[in-house]
């Protein structure tokens, strides 16, 4: 079936029909759509042309919107990432500061607890007292001494007892205007009148220069046993009675008339930070 040439048509129209068919198709379809559109409207009231354009344009617009949204999200993500990095650095700095603050607050809380216990101790002993902070510790031959941040201006005087909630720490041996030196119970020159809480056997608790104390002048006939708690007797007229000194670790019956008694101190002298100095006679004492 041979294709017949288009006869008797003007040249322009012939060229249009034969070479520009797609364009012509588009034009004819568009005209027909206009014709249809002028007659019909969909339930929403839009003409066919509007409805078709809407159908065509909407997905394209949606795709463009999605692409635009993706691009925007990517850009926002990048900016957010940059901001997050800056914020992260700032938060790390804040965290470091807060950690330091937390450590300080923890230290202050512990200090508060210790001071509260000392205050309670002061009220318990019913004796005028001041709380003193440990300024420094002795070294070498003076290792069993402390320097505290209270002095004569605060009412401190030599031979005043220095205690902590756990028990006896020592006594004041030297006083300056604002500081004082404390001889710890561990010092070989220290002596505390003590007694066994269980049997009321009395003796003198002295330092040995080491980490332990010794209780002396206890008759070989007296009943003392490891584990017995030693408290102050008050007979030395320095320490009030009833303060914890330590616990008997070992009892040895020697060749003489007295026993050799090792006492573990009630106080951990290496951890002293604040102490209570009893600066006056017991209340009610004449």
């Amino acid at each position: 079936m041979p294709r017949a040439p288009g006869p008797r048509l003007p040249t322009m129209i012939q060229v249009l029909l034969e070479r520009k068919a797609p364009l012509l198709l588009f034009a004819v379809l568009f005209i027909l759509l206009l014709v249809l559109s002028s007659q019909a409207r969909n339930p929403e009231g839009a003409s066919l042309l509007e409805a078709l354009l809407f159908r065509v344009v909407t997905p394209a617009a949606r795709a463009a919107n999605v692409a635009d949204g993706g691009l925007t999200r990517w850009a926002e993500g990048y900016v957010d990432l940059r901001l997050a990095r800056v914020e992260n650095l700032r938060l790390k700095e804040d965290l470091a500061v807060l950690r330091i603050d937390k450590q300080r607050w923890e230290a202050e809380r512990h200090e508060y607890t210790r001071l509260l216990r000392l205050l309670n101790l002061g009220e318990m002993v019913a004796q005028p007292s001041v709380v003193a902070r440990v300024v420094s510790r002795g070294q070498g031959i003076g290792a069993n001494t402390l320097l505290i941040g209270r002095g004569s201006a605060d009412g401190l005087a030599p031979n005043q007892p220095v205690i902590v909630p756990e028990g006896v720490a020592g006594r004041v041996i030297d006083v300056g205007p604002s500081t004082a030196k404390v001889q710890l119970a561990l010092d070989p020159n220290s002596g505390i009148a003590g007694l066994s809480e269980r049997t009321r056997v009395q003796g003198m608790v002295n330092g040995r220069g080491g980490s332990h104390l010794k209780m002396e002048y206890v008759s070989d006939l007296e009943d003392v046993q490891p584990g017995d708690r030693i408290v102050t007797s008050g007979l030395d007229r320095i320490f009030p009675p009833g303060l914890a000194v330590g616990t008997i670790l070992h009892v040895e019956h020697g060749e003489g008339l007295v026993q050799s008694i090792d006492v573990e101190p009630a106080v951990d002298f290496s951890r002293l930070e604040e102490v209570l100095v009893l600066i006056g006679p017991p209340q009610g004492d004449p």
Partner: protein, 164 residues
Amino acid sequence: MGTLGETVLLAAASFTQQIVLSSHFPSLHALVDLYLIVAVYISITRPQGHALVMGAVTGLVQDLFTQALFGVHGFCKCLLAFTISGLGSKFTLNAPVPQFGALVIGTLAEFGIAAGLLATLGQKVADPLVLQRSLANGVAGMLLFLLFNRLAGRRARAAHSLGS
């Protein structure tokens, strides 16, 4: 067949479809679409530009006699003619079998395009006979194409003998 012949053919198809078939063969009228057959024939025998214009004209003529929106058939047949003519320039559609296929597929495609257009307007389109119509158009088209070719061949021979 020139434009005049096509116009005559279209007029004849219209007369047959709307007067003869609708009055005397209502069953055939419901199944056979002579406008489509004419449009496909022109598409096979003519270039794309010419085919799409004639397709649109054929469809618009059909629209004049149908209750559909004016332009629906014109739109569909224009698109259909353009497509078939384009295929005809690449594949051989001169044999009966490809022509049958073009008619069947053309019927279905026209229904699909029209349904899409009308659905855009919110109108529901249903044609339970579309498959039967496509087959009927295929068979009727093949027979008519033979007739058209014979007429075209006789006319060409007459022109040749006059020229010689």
